[in-house]
């Protein structure tokens, strides 16, 4: 498998999308396409974006993530960003980007727990 591609799998009721370490712009934009395709194919209630391998998040990457989260929200789902590396968190803060309406989790494991618990609520997660 090409290490630079995005992996998309369905885990329980959520989509788990894993980003590679330093994706080029084409790969980053593929995030949106692949997410929307997958949400079309499977009935999933949300998206977990695994950024644990990612070494750089610039303004383009951040924008695509924020837009994707917005699309997922419009379809009634929630986006959880998991495993962001410390250096990425710091540069993202200093760059001043926004990752949109997303929750964050230390690990994919925790993200799955969070996604499961949100589903237990009858209200939409964005109220």
């Amino acid at each position: 498998m090409n290490p630079e591609t995005i992996s998309v799998v369905r885990v329980r009721d959520v989509l788990l999308v894993t980003m590679p370490a330093d994706p080029d712009d084409a790969t980053i934009s593929a995030l949106q396409e692949k997410t929307l395709d997958a949400m079309d194919q499977h009935t999933v209630k949300g998206l977990i974006l695994d950024l644990s391998k990612v070494e750089i998040v610039d303004s383009y990457f951040a924008r695509v993530v924020a837009e994707t989260a917005q699309m997922v929200a419009l379809m009634g789902g929630e986006t959880i960003i998991a495993g962001m590396q410390p250096s990425v968190a710091i540069t993202a803060t200093e760059l001043g980007v926004s990752l949109g309406r997303t929750r964050t989790a230390l690990t994919v494991d925790r993200a799955l727990d969070m996604a499961a618990s949100t589903q237990n609520h009858s209200k939409s997660p964005h109220s």
């Binding site: 960003i81 998991a82 495993g83 962001m84 590396q85 410390p86 250096s87 990425v88 968190a89 710091i90 993202a92 803060t93 200093e94 990752l99 964050t104 989790a105 230390l106 690990t107 925790r110 993200a111 727990d113 969070m114 499961a116 618990s117 237990n120």
Partner: protein
């Protein structure tokens, strides 16, 4: 050792006590030989009447250059203008002595840090005959003290902020001193690393030891909180004293989306409840 009681004549014969003249001779020898203290005599108005080799070494003047001149020559122009010399003699006259530490000026205009004792010299009738001035060069000691103070200050400001695991899932960060850019960057890196390594969901930032909050410190705090949230943890800010709370409001700093408490204990309670929120969902699956 056998102690006997001897008559004064016997003592003098022994050489154990000195005649008045020999006494004076020995005292003069003391003044001339002693290296660490510059001993001079001033007349009642403050003019130098006697000088010593140590004084010459310390202040640079030869006896023939300084005898007859006023002792304000050893002070900086600003001090002389402010009347310091007059005051010193007044105190010595009134109370018998005056003691001080300060900068003194040598003949070549260089300065040294001196410890000075001015003693009023009165005869048997109580008349003021003059002043004895004993000066000690403490420049080396002052430099060492200044250096130590600088280092202590530097250490306090640059000391690595400790990050303490208070229990599983909670990292305590007791901040001491002001948060400048460099310290914040250092802190953010270490804290985030620790949180992600241990998968700890809560960072307890205690600002009890932060003396004052300015806009810069507040911005650094807010950035740290943002970065902690990006990695998937959260922050409880504790130690927000009334004075700090007031400053934050006046500066227009918005911490409405951050859990803040005035005491560490209260903050710890909040942190623990945050952990419970994390734990419950897992339990739900078992």
């Amino acid at each position: 050792m056998i102690s006997e009681v001897k008559t004064p004549a016997q003592k003098q014969a022994d050489g154990a006590t000195l005649s008045a003249e020999a006494s004076r001779e020995m005292l003069q020898l003391l003044v001339d030989t002693i290296r660490d203290y510059a001993i001079t005599i001033l007349d009642p108005r403050g003019y130098v009447t006697t000088w010593s080799p140590a004084a010459e070494r310390l202040k640079g003047y030869r006896a023939d250059e300084i005898v007859g001149r006023h002792f304000s020559a050893f002070y900086t122009p600003e001090e002389v203008a402010s009347g310091k010399c007059v005051r010193e003699l007044e105190v010595a006259t009134r109370e018998g002595r005056f003691e001080d530490e300060g900068w003194r000026v040598r003949k070549d205009a260089s300065c040294f840090w001196a410890s000075v004792v001015i003693t009023a010299l009165r005869d048997a009738q109580g008349n003021l005959r003059g002043f004895g001035k004993v000066t000690r060069d403490l420049t080396d000691r002052k430099n060492s003290e200044d250096r130590l103070r600088e280092q202590a200050k530097e250490i306090l400001e640059m000391a690595t902020v400790p990050i303490v695991q208070v229990c599983e899932g909670i990292m305590l960060v007791p901040l001491i001193g002001m948060l400048d850019s460099a310290r914040t960057q250092q802190l953010m890196e270490r804290l985030l690393l620790r949180l992600t390594e241990t998968a700890s969901p809560v960072a307890l930032l205690d600002i009890t030891g932060v003396p004052a909050i300015d806009t810069q410190t507040a911005q650094h705090l807010i950035e740290t909180i943002k970065a902690v949230r990006y990695v998937g943890a959260d922050v409880v800010l504790t130690g927000v004293r009334p004075a700090i709370a007031q400053t934050l409001v006046h500066l227009g700093i918005d911490l409405s989306n951050v859990a803040t408490r005035s005491s560490l204990t209260a903050g710890l309670r909040v942190a623990l409840s945050m952990l419970n929120l994390q734990i419950a969902p897992s339990n739900a699956h078992r």
